[in-house]
């Protein structure tokens, strides 16, 4: 069966392969029977709570925990001093930095972890926090990355030997000399600075864990909000010195991740220590304020882009300079070789002959993190920059932004295409996707309507963005996190009756793995998807792999599932040949069955082969019984999904309020395993784009106080801000993926913010203003002051 054929239906009415299928996991969620970390309730379980710093930068003079310890329901109070004796006061980050678990010297951001209380119930644990007395000596702060390298800036990481400034790294890519030469001779150069503000993934379920150490067996079991259970297991082994074979990480149902749940947080470590010290299971579940103030943020990139072009709009070169704010610890989660992640793909979807990029990263007195919020390892920032820059060029050349893009997009015959910084895009037909988006939008008609409205004094805007994603990290020889190569294992067991269990190394935070992966196996083997159980999120029951983030599940683990199913198919062929007493060369496959060429009735279904494999059938020399297989899939390259987005907005010139009237999204992620799930992923990402473009920002005041510590201040899009999404698709399979699929989880988050911002600026007929385009920002832009934002603080 090819990927585009319609799959036959199973007895339960599900597609035996690709197609729209109702999700298996819904049955429990619809009834309130999901099992999230906070639903885990063990006998004798205690509750932990974290005391956090009220200061952004302050030396700890003293901590007095005696009153808290005297609280009748308190079982333990843990401070950095206690952790020091266990060598756990500091832990490694995913970027070869260290991070404080509980503070021993000075706090470096507001909300940093200072002490951990374990008590009989969650309210008592919080009560006891109030009884801990901490004396702080406030220090000068630096929270604006643009001042982090000032001569008089306070040194945040004086814990690191020899530190005399706040610089983390200085990294560059591309050919600077060639690029400078092109710019020196260009007819047109357009330069624009822009900020991708600090935002937060804010999954609806906050982070937390339940740690249970069995003192007799030495077995540690941790139910935790993690997108990468296997990586966490190895890290616990490395950090705490616990034997890895005695650690079991369970990632149960996860209430959204978006990159927020990739790393290890101090609270997880504290729960483990709490369980070790008390001998009881300990639950730690952060509240919303803690989630927003202390866990992995996203973006915070100060970017300056320059395009060199001809007068008629042919792009000749791209130069980019970035100042990256990583917060107080460098805690980004991304492949080691790429300090700025896949920002490396900053040339986007265009045929730039030359390009150069420099990224400087700095410490500030803000929470650590940076790679999160469906960013595909910072392609979000790159896509936003390049799509804003294209519109800036269109603005200066007075060209239609669609025409300018069409003129410069990579052409289908250029694929596989190597970017100026050495990345190979696998496949694409970009003009087709843009044309399709313009067709759905009725682009020419929209421009006519805009002209009429302008004549009548009304304001509407049309914004385009075109993105190229790079997902499915990644090839082992290039990509690892803390030395762990980014390949993924997969195991498939076909039981004697032909029912199957698929064990995958990635896990779901809502993406529907239990359905999609069953469909992949069904596509390959013809076993009904309802007969395939997908097991994930438990390190004791799944093979090793790096987890779900960076849209990597389908490109890596999905490929592993297809490959392991093909191994089963190959083995079933040997078994069928033995059973049918013919040569394997005489057999031909049809969906779900091997049969003898020229004698269609003589054959064996995969279910019959499974029973025969477990039965008494004499097998050829060297062939083992049973029908199981396992693989480790090492992707040969990333996959490169892409898309063309068009936003239509109306702006109220009196209030600055922006209404997203329409949003057209054409995505090309290769063949769609379950189109319903793919569309759902796109819808969610588009809402993220509305949030980032118009509403979301983590603001700080001049003392480093966090001004977005609750959903009353950190605004997320609701049903009222989101339009009814209009989706389209083109299908360009990946040539190197077993089923051609490319991954789609983050595409819309990557691609949509620029379309909305471009639309608002198109409405206002100005070149640039900073996100989020709140009514206040838009109103100020209308008054002719769009660029004057000395900091990100909300006035």
């Amino acid at each position: 069966m090819t990927v585009t054929e319609e799959a036959p239906l199973s007895p339960a009415g599900n597609p035996m392969g690709f197609g729209r299928m109702i999700r298996k996991e819904d049955a429990r969620f619809l009834r309130g029977q999901g099992n999230y970390v906070d639903d885990v309730n063990l006998p004798g379980m205690l509750h932990g709570a974290i005391l956090r710093s009220p200061y952004a930068h302050a030396r700890i003079v003293s901590i007095d925990t005696s009153a808290a310890e005297a609280h009748p329901k308190v079982k333990a109070v843990i401070t950095g001093k206690i952790l020091e004796t266990l060598k756990l006061a500091w832990m490694p980050t995913l970027s070869y930095d260290v991070q404080s678990v509980l503070c021993t010297d000075k706090v470096r951001f507001q909300g940093q972890e200072v002490a951990f209380v374990v008590a009989e119930d969650r309210y008592s644990a919080r009560d006891a926090l109030e009884l801990i007395e901490v004396e702080y000596e406030p220090l000068p702060t630096v929270f604006d990355a643009r001042h982090a390298l000032d001569a008089d800036a306070p040194i945040i990481r004086d814990d690191l030997d020899g530190r005399t400034d706040n610089k983390i790294y200085d990294w560059e890519a591309g050919d600077k000399a060639k690029c400078d030469e092109v710019f020196a001779n260009a007819e047109v150069v357009v330069k624009q600075s822009m900020i991708y503000p600090r935002v937060h993934p804010a999954p609806l379920e906050t982070c937390g864990s339940v740690a249970s150490m069995d003192k007799v067996t030495g077995q540690l079991t941790v139910w935790t909000t993690t997108q990468a259970p296997h990586a966490h297991r190895t890290l616990y082994a490395l950090v705490a010195g616990l034997p890895e074979h005695k650690i079991r990480i369970i990632s149960p149902d996860i209430g959204g991740g978006f990159g927020n749940k990739v790393g290890i947080y101090p609270g997880y470590v504290c729960a483990v220590v709490g369980s070790i010290l008390t001998g009881k299971p300990v639950k730690w579940m952060e509240d919303r304020s803690e989630n927003l103030m202390s866990t992995s943020f996203a973006r915070d990139y100060h970017m300056t882009g320059e395009i060199a072009a001809t007068k008629d709009g042919k792009m000749l070169g791209l130069r980019v300079d970035v100042l990256a704010d990583h917060g107080a610890f460098n805690g980004v989660a991304q492949p080691t070789k790429y300090p700025a992640g896949f920002f490396h793909l900053f040339t986007g979807s265009y045929d730039y002959p030359v390009a150069h990029c420099n990224v400087r990263a700095v410490y500030t007195n803000k929470a650590p993190g940076g790679v999160a919020y469906a960013c595909s390892f910072r392609i979000t920032e790159a896509a936003f920059l390049v799509e804003r820059m294209v519109d800036c060029l269109a603005f200066e050349l007075k060209m239609d932004p669609a025409e300018l893009r069409m003129k410069n997009l990579l052409r289908p015959e250029q694929f596989p295409y190597t970017t100026p910084t050495g990345w190979e895009y696998d496949s694409g037909d970009y003009p087709r996707a843009l044309k399709e988006a313009m067709r759905i939008a009725g682009y020419d008609e929209l421009r006519r309507e805009q002209a009429e409205k302008r004549a009548a004094g009304e304001t509407m805007g049309i914004g385009i963005s075109f993105f190229t994603e790079g997902v499915g990290a990644g090839p082992r020889k290039h990509m690892d996190i803390l030395g762990l190569g980014m390949a993924d294992g997969c195991e498939l067991r076909i039981h004697p009756t032909g029912k199957a269990q698929l064990r995958i190394s990635v896990q779901s935070q809502g993406q529907g793995h239990e359905t999609t992966f069953a469909q992949i196996v069904s596509h390959e083997l013809g076993i009904p998807p309802e007969d395939i159980e997908v097991i994930h999120g438990d390190t004791d029951n799944t093979p090793f792999g790096l987890g779900t983030y960076g849209s990597r599940s389908t490109p890596v683990s999905g490929a592993a599932a297809a490959v392991v199913a093909r191994r089963i198919k190959d083995k079933a062929k040997i078994i069928a040949a033995a059973a049918l007493e013919c040569s394997v060369d005489d057999l031909e496959w049809e969906h779900g069955r091997w049969f003898v060429k020229g004698d269609h009735d003589k054959g064996q279904t995969i279910q019959e082969s499974a029973f025969a494999a477990h039965g008494t059938l004499e097998l050829p020399e060297g062939v083992e019984g049973h029908l199981d297989a396992s693989v480790v899939y090492d992707p040969p390259n990333l996959t490169y999904p892409f898309g063309a987005y068009i936003a239509v907005v109306d702006v109220d010139m009196g209030t600055g309020h922006v209404k997203v009237r329409r949003f057209i999204a054409v995505d090309d992620c290769g063949p769609r395993i379950n189109p319903m799930i793919v569309e759902g992923q796109v819808h969610g990402g588009l809402a993220d784009g509305v949030g980032m473009a118009l509403m979301e920002v983590m603001a700080f005041d001049e003392n480093g106080n966090h001004l977005g510590g609750s959903f009353m201040d950190y605004l997320l899009p609701t049903s009222m801000e989101c339009p009814s999404w209009e989706l389209g698709e083109t299908v360009t399979p990946s040539p190197h993926h077993p089923i051609g699929a490319k991954g789609v989880g983050e595409s819309a988050t990557v691609g949509s913010p620029a379309a909305i911002v471009n639309a608002v600026l198109d409405a206002l007929q100005i070149r640039h203003a900073e996100m989020p385009l709140t009514p206040a920002v838009v109103w100020r832009a209308i008054q002719g002051n769009p660029l004057d934002r000395p900091d990100l603080a909300i006035e």
């Binding site: 619809l30 309130g32 969650r122 804010a202 149902d253 209430g255 959204g256 809502g510 049903s719």
Partner: protein
């Protein structure tokens, strides 16, 4: 202090602290974990339950405030006789992904349809605007509620007790 309330048709009495939030009472005392704790500030709606057939945010309601009242949670939407049309709509229209907002979202939607059996898209969007979803972009939730409205008549025979306002 003792608090007595009717939860999903059963009378329950517990000795609780006056400050105990209803969301924690339901989750930790009664082990009804379908109601979720999402934000503490009434913004996200993951904790939405009904008190006397009105949706409330149980993260900002004290358990004792529900004393003497009828509380209904997501666990009561499907009392074993088949899915409520709202649940079926969410399933068929893919109105959920991670499932964390889903119980609160469905309690709000069920309330809307009891009050207004034929809501248009704008009405649905306004009604669920106090429930945040981070996964779906709301599109399929709106479709799910419309699906339920369109199929409500077929399912009246299965209507759980107390579902009509």
């Amino acid at each position: 202090m003792d608090v007595t309330m009717n939860v999903n048709g059963d009378e329950v009495t517990r000795d609780v602290e006056p400050r105990l939030l209803l969301v924690h009472f339901l989750r930790d005392e009664l082990r009804l974990t379908g109601t979720h704790w999402g934000c503490d500030t009434s913004n996200c709606g993951a904790c939405t339950v009904w008190i006397d057939q009105q949706p409330v945010k149980s993260c900002t309601t004290l358990a004792v405030m529900a004393g003497g009242h009828d509380v209904r949670t997501v666990e009561d939407l499907d009392p074993g006789t088949g899915l409520d049309p709202v649940q079926e709509g969410f399933m068929l229209e893919h109105g959920l992904q991670c499932g964390f907002c889903t119980p609160g979202m469905m309690m709000t939607a069920r309330w809307l349809l009891d009050k207004n059996p034929d809501p248009d898209e704008a009405t649905i969007r306004e009604c669920i605007s106090g429930n945040i979803c981070r996964c779906t972009g709301y599109e399929n939730i709106v479709r799910a509620v419309r699906w339920a409205a369109n199929h409500e008549a077929d399912a009246t025979a299965n209507q759980p007790e107390g579902a009509s306002a």
